[in-house]
């Protein structure tokens, strides 16, 4: 038994000393990104987060109550809060409240609690919620407003779900990834950019947000809440594939920097893919896991039906985690070889 724990050792303040503290640092690290997004896309970003949080905490408490588990420690660990904040950030700003409600039911109730609660979920809860919404309510999920004032007139109607879809469409624009994807086969990239296809400031908004997420991710890394393996592998494999495509045909494929800094790549790499519960276990496994997500994001963005693909890529790689874990265990001291890939008789049943 160890009698020393690093809670007892403030000298080691470098390390997060408890799971709730760790979760709170994740929340703190989202602040720069949330601030920049709010600056560009208005208070709708905040309403998303607030509504998702309230619904998420209520759902978490309700399910724990039904499961007859202690509620307070589970709420205190802030894991539901993190899921809610991440989903709120991922959804289009000023999404209607019921959209968040459906998403949080999928995330907290189905993806997390039905699998046994914190630590037991094979899939990233926020991404389960996001993916479900994306396939069920594509209209709401693909309408992303262009940069707008902090308090747009339609904000409250939008949040209350009272704004008709047609009007919603009118105030929305395309995301850069979306626009580029639908530029058409015949249009060359240079021609496409020459048409000035995005509303004023859209590209800046997305790029500056990405830088803010990078900053927040750096904070997570500095606080040793995440290791470098997953973000580096994910962004690295994206860059590599994007560079290959771009080098092959720059007139039809977007540049690596376009792929990295518009869309959810940086946010996903540091805040979504790094969810330890649903990621691969070992360091080597994390490299494979991150690289897999990056590759899937690029393949789906380039050849699939969706302009962005972080949610699907993460969920698909969540599926692969048992396999990655089997093939990634490190060589143990004193053993000449790893037992990587060694299966047990019962595995072959």
């Amino acid at each position: 038994m160890s009698f020393l724990h690093h809670t007892a050792a403030p000298a080691n303040a470098q390390l997060p000393n408890s799971t709730p503290v760790l979760m709170r640092w994740v929340l703190i690290a989202t602040l720069p990104g949330v601030a920049v997004m709010t600056y560009y896309f208005g208070a709708g970003v905040l309403t998303n987060i607030v509504i998702a949080t309230v619904i998420g905490l209520v759902l978490e408490a309700a399910v724990l109550n039904i499961r007859k588990r202690p509620i307070r420690p589970a709420l205190n660990d802030s894991s539901a809060l993190v899921t809610a904040v991440l989903l709120g950030i991922a959804l289009p700003p000023a999404s209607p409240w019921w959209l968040m409600g459906v998403g949080m039911v999928a995330a907290v109730v189905v993806a997390k609690q039905l699998y046994g609660g914190l630590g037991q979920n094979p899939f990233n809860p926020a991404m389960v919620g996001y993916a479900l919404l994306l396939v069920s309510f594509p209209t709401y999920m693909t309408l992303w407003a262009p940069p707008q004032p902090l308090l747009p007139e339609t904000l409250w109607a939008q949040v209350a779900g009272l704004l008709p879809a047609a009007e919603l469409d009118a105030i929305s624009g395309a995301t850069p990834l979306d626009a580029f994807k639908h530029k058409g086969e015949a249009v060359l990239a240079s021609e496409f950019w020459a048409t000035d296809p995005l509303s004023l400031g859209t590209l800046d908004a997305w790029q500056h947000s990405a830088w803010a997420w990078l900053f927040g991710g750096g904070l997570l890394f500095y606080k040793r809440i995440i290791s470098w393996h997953i973000p580096v592998a994910m962004l690295g494999s994206m860059t590599l594939l994007a560079a290959l495509f771009y080098a092959g045909d720059p007139s039809h494929f977007a540049s690596p920097s376009f792929h990295l800094f518009t869309g959810a790549a940086v946010f996903g790499a540091f805040f979504i893919a790094t969810d330890p519960v649903s990621a691969a276990t070992s360091r080597r496994g994390k490299l494979m896991y991150g690289a897999g997500i990056g590759a899937l994001v690029m393949l789906i963005r380039t050849f699939g039906a969706y302009p962005d693909a972080v949610a699907f890529a993460v969920l698909l790689m969540n599926l692969c985690v048992p396999l990655l874990d089997l093939y990634s265990d490190p060589r143990v001291m004193g053993h000449a070889k790893t037992t990587r890939g060694q299966r047990l008789p019962e595995d072959n049943v």
């Binding site: 160890s2 000298a11 390390l15 760790l22 360091r283 143990v332 001291m333 004193g334 990587r340």
Partner: protein
Amino acid sequence: MSRGFELHDRDFPGGVYPPERKTRSTERPLSDAPLPDRVILPLSQHSGRPAVPCVAVGEQVNTGTLLAQPDSMISSALHASISGKVVEINTAYIVIEKNKVSEGDGSDGEDNETRLKRLDWRTAEPEALLERLDISGVVGLGGAGFPTQVKARVRERHSLDTLVVNAAECEPYITADDVTLRYFAADVLEGAQLMAKLASAEQIIVGIEDNKPEAVAALEAAALNALPLPVVINVIETRYPSGGERQLIKKLLGREVPSGGLPADVGVLCHNPGTLLAVLHAVRDGAPLTSRIVTLTGNALMRPGNYRVRLGTPMRKLLQHAGLKDTELNTLIHGGPMMGVALADLDTPVGKTTNCLIAATADELPAPPTEAPCIRCGACEDVCPASLLPQQLHWYARAGDDARLERYHLFDCIECGACSYVCPSHIPLVDDYREAKARLRLKHIEATKAEHAKHRFEFRQARLAREEAEKQARREARLARAKRPAQAGTNDGDTAQADIRSLRIAQTAAKAAVRKAEKTLARTAEQDPQQDLSDLETQLATAQENLKAADAKLSAARQQTTS
């Protein structure tokens, strides 16, 4: 499969930097603890079999009188640590009480010492030195208590080149080795020369963490006139658990002790400074192991420090000498805060492996917060000094998945506690592993027993078959003698020849089986003489029975054809 990730060839993986809290016990000079009036000396203070008492109740003993002899190979002797009268002997311990001066029975209540003949290790025969270690009760004083003479004999089976003095002392609080080296560096190195001579080692390396500058200075001064072997002092970074035998060997020499193996498998012998000092005392001064240096520390003590303590001294007495504040004592820890155990009874005697006692207050070592679910953050993996995946082991230990626990190398865990230390969910990981190890060991024992029973059954079957075959052979011989040779059927000749051929093949196979069983037995006996060989002996006997049966059948068939 490629192994491109091992970047640090000469370092062990992982490790943590817990608060050291060592200076509290090094500020006071080393001093002798008061002589106890009564000592309790357990018969099992070492790994292996308990010692066998060789004194009687009522006998007068001196400090250093042999009380109990080693039983079988892995065991150790036990000596009186004070002079006085044996007042109790039971299956677990021997109690000695100091004579009262008024009794007037020849002894004076003083500390009379019995010593053995002094030996000069430079000229003495190795066998004489080994025998001296054998009867001096020296065991590894670092914690495991492995009998030193057994370790010294390891060269009979391994070729060794390096003696490592493990002075890393990486656990927080403990300073016994540090202080031992500050005061007795030259003696420790002489003890190392002695053990190196016994092991035929070619070099001596001292591994010591950089948080012990005084000890390093003392060692460097002592190493100047190191003879006959050169002494290398390797000051390493302070990082827990650098004092783990396997970790230190990796760090100092870049060699990896194979899983399930011994340092001797990579040509290394590891000794703790306290042990080497005890070895030298046993040989040079003829003084058996009757005392040791113990760190007394913790915030519940007013005078923390290192004390030379007679073995068997009740801890309460010792702690009181160091100024125990009874009301503030929360936990008494035997050993360090990472790997030690909490003691419930303050009257436990100090043993040969007691390197440190921590009288901790509730503030200094508080109980861990409530356990939370594992979120597989991987902090444990980063600090594991054996490159294990503690989070996976935790998962499978809780699920009782024994097959996967072994696949993920549970038995390579050295139980250092680095994973428990960093776990943000405060999961008592090492406790889980110890429990799982115990369960698995039990299972293996059961499996071995079942296997053994099966082999005994096979032996019985083989014996019966052999007896039957011999009976048959005798019958055939009788028949052959009774019949006239002319009656031998030439028609049967072919089938009989074919029978003989197949029987000869069977006989050859049986011979090969016997040879194989003999080889296995010999190899196992050589590798580990302490192991129980009866199962392998049964298997050999079975093979021999089978061979005899094959011989008998063959001779019976030959009788048939010749008849």
